[in-house]
């Protein structure tokens, strides 16, 4: 019997014949921590009292509460800086040369096809968009990986997702993944991986990263795309070191098969308080106080271009704050170079530097009781972006931009005449 991509990568990294259901010990290519999950890992590592440290494989990216929100977060970020200095760690990314951790992992070339990457952040599954098996872990096990470069993995069963056709205008990866999560539920892929097949060449890499990013919102361990010419073009200037892409065997075994005709998909919005509460935007009747464009899900330059095209020559609705948060300094710079900053400023948006900030209810856009935000982020749990009585509606960049103008959740083609 053949193997899935997840089984192949775990076989290679564990030196065993890894099959779904087994638990294997495997070597990781990289282990990443951020400012929230790092401190527990640093303390656990120091308690080990070992000299062993896989420094080249460790990546440290402060992004959740930086630039420092307050004294407590300043102390926390400093704990990471002190750890980096003490151990002379090479892969640390300081504010101003950094961004949201998952965007950096791709931009800086740590993520690459065929690699096994773990990160103490649940959205580490993002790099499946470029054919990596990447998954979220905890802080203590990050500390274990600092010391040993190894971790235990349960080899996941895999759900095969067959894509047909092409996205229509203003429909993209976010709409696809909200559709999938709505169909199978927030635990529909628990302990499992997704593997994407079919007309994948019609799906831009940026959209693939969005889809893989939210695999965790269905409980998934990973969401893995094949490596094709679009992948190679996307990573060619940035990837570090050698890598070996992995494809599934034709006779690999899958626990479930899902099929989606991309040309039939329409813009989706996930209502509070679960990402599985997806509905077509045309059925929505929701006024908003805030529209948030950013995060590891939809804070890439491609998302900024889509949104800028929609708000160009228009004004943000008087009752709305439109927050634009590029996912990295590189995206920020590209926005300046392509004239997108001007468009967002002209329409009345607030633009900040990269941070996870408001996505997780940290800062820079917290919601008051009763307020509603449409958001290009990934979670709409109770109180996720602020007060427990606030509401988050998840959507893609086109719907977020159109909604910022309309003052309610709409698709761009509902803006005619505005």
């Amino acid at each position: 019997m053949g193997k899935t991509i997840a089984e192949k990568i775990l076989s290679r990294k564990s030196g065993t014949d890894a099959r779904a259901g087994q638990i294997v010990m495997a070597d990781v290519d990289y282990v990443m921590v951020n400012d929230v999950t790092g401190p527990i890992a640093f303390r656990e590592y120091e308690k080990l009292g070992t000299d062993c440290m896989c420094k080249d494989r460790m990546v440290l990216i402060p992004d959740h509460y930086v630039p420092n929100k307050d004294v407590a977060s300043a102390e926390q970020a400093k704990e990471m800086r002190d750890f980096v200095r003490k151990h002379e760690l090479p892969n640390y990314f300081e504010v101003g040369r950094s961004g949201v951790c998952h965007q950096l992992m791709v931009e800086e070339g740590f993520a690459a096809p065929g690699r096994l990457i773990v990160g103490a952040d649940s959205h580490t599954c993002t790099y499946g968009g470029i054919n990596a098996l990447s998954t979220g872990i905890g802080s203590t096990e990050a500390a274990a990986a600092f010391a040993t470069g190894r971790l235990w993995f349960k080899v996941p069963e895999t759900i095969k997702v067959v894509l047909k056709g092409k996205f229509r205008e203003n429909v993209g990866g976010k709409d696809l993944i909200i559709r999938i999560i709505t169909d199978i539920g927030v635990d529909g892929a628990n302990y499992k991986a997704f593997e994407f097949h079919g007309d994948v060449h019609n799906v831009p890499v940026s959209d693939r990263l969005t889809v893989s990013n939210m695999a965790i919102e269905a409980g998934g361990k990973a969401g893995i795309f094949p490596c094709d010419d679009l992948t190679l073009e996307y990573i060619k200037d940035t990837v570090r070191g050698d890598y070996e892409a992995v494809e599934a065997d034709p006779d690999a075994e899958y626990c479930m098969t899902l099929e989606y005709d991309l040309s039939e998909l329409e813009p989706m919005v996930a209502y509070p308080h679960l990402p599985s509460n997806g509905r077509p935007v045309r059925e929505a009747d929701v006024t908003i106080d805030q529209a948030y464009l950013g995060s590891c899900t939809n804070g890439r330059i491609e998302d900024m271009r889509i949104a800028a095209e929609i708000v160009k020559g228009r004004r943000v609705h008087p009752g709305v704050r439109f927050l634009v948060v590029p996912a990295s300094q590189k995206v920020y710079r590209q926005m300046i170079e392509e004239g997108l900053m001007q468009i967002f400023l002209d329409c009345g948006a607030f633009i900040s530097g990269p941070t996870c900030g408001a996505c997780l209810g940290g800062y820079m856009g917290i919601l008051a009781a009763g307020e509603r935000s449409v958001s290009s982020t990934n979670r709409n749990f109770i109180g996720r972006m602020g007060d427990k009585n606030s509401e988050v509606y998840l959507a893609g960049p086109a719907v977020v931009a159109a909604s910022a103008i309309a003052g309610r959740i709409v698709t761009p083609d509902m803006l005619e005449g505005q």
Binding site: I23, I40, Y65, S122, G138, T140, E141, A143, K154
Partner: protein, 160 residues
């Protein structure tokens, strides 16, 4: 593995880690008192009511969402001896088993808050309010992990 008996608290399906401990509490200076914030948005005052040895029973997908280890840490610090749920989200499962919070995958019918539960992990047996349930054996690696006292002990012993 150790047997536990304790007072029961009942939660529903899809209890996410933001509910267990909100993101705004995730700063290093809170690490020695994470239990103060447990379920503060969805059950205000809960932290004051939990006693050492209590057992939490939930529905499907307990611990979904973020990878924050602060979630199982806050449950341990609050005094919970173990969590029984129909299913657990995978990162929460890893985190808990790695740091010594025992999880039991078992579906309990209409548990009553405040009743007594007993968990016998080695024999795959749970008794809630006098009714007995069974759950499957842990994989050998997980048993070894728990009996070692957690992942870092296995690393210290050179077993990883």
């Amino acid at each position: 593995m150790e047997k536990f008996t304790g007072r029961v608290w009942v939660f529903g399906d899809n209890v996410d880690t933001d509910q267990i401990i909100p993101a705004e509490r995730l700063v290093a200076s809170n690490l020695d008192h994470l239990n103060d914030f447990i379920f503060e948005k969805v059950r205000p005052g809960f932290a004051q009511e939990v006693r050492k040895g209590d057992i939490l029973i939930a529905g499907r997908n307990f611990g979904c969402g973020s990878s924050r280890e602060h979630a199982p840490l806050s449950l341990i610090e609050a005094g919970f001896s173990c969590i029984i749920a129909e299913s657990f989200a995978r990162i929460f499962y890893r985190n808990s088993m790695n740091i010594g919070l025992l999880l039991v995958e078992c579906s309990v019918e209409d548990p009553r808050e405040g009743c007594e539960a007993t968990v016998d992990p080695d024999n795959g047996r749970v008794v809630v309010d006098g009714r007995e349930y069974t759950f499957p054996e842990y994989p050998p690696f997980i048993t070894e992990l728990v009996n070692s006292g957690g992942l870092m002990n296995m690393v210290k012993e050179g077993r990883i």
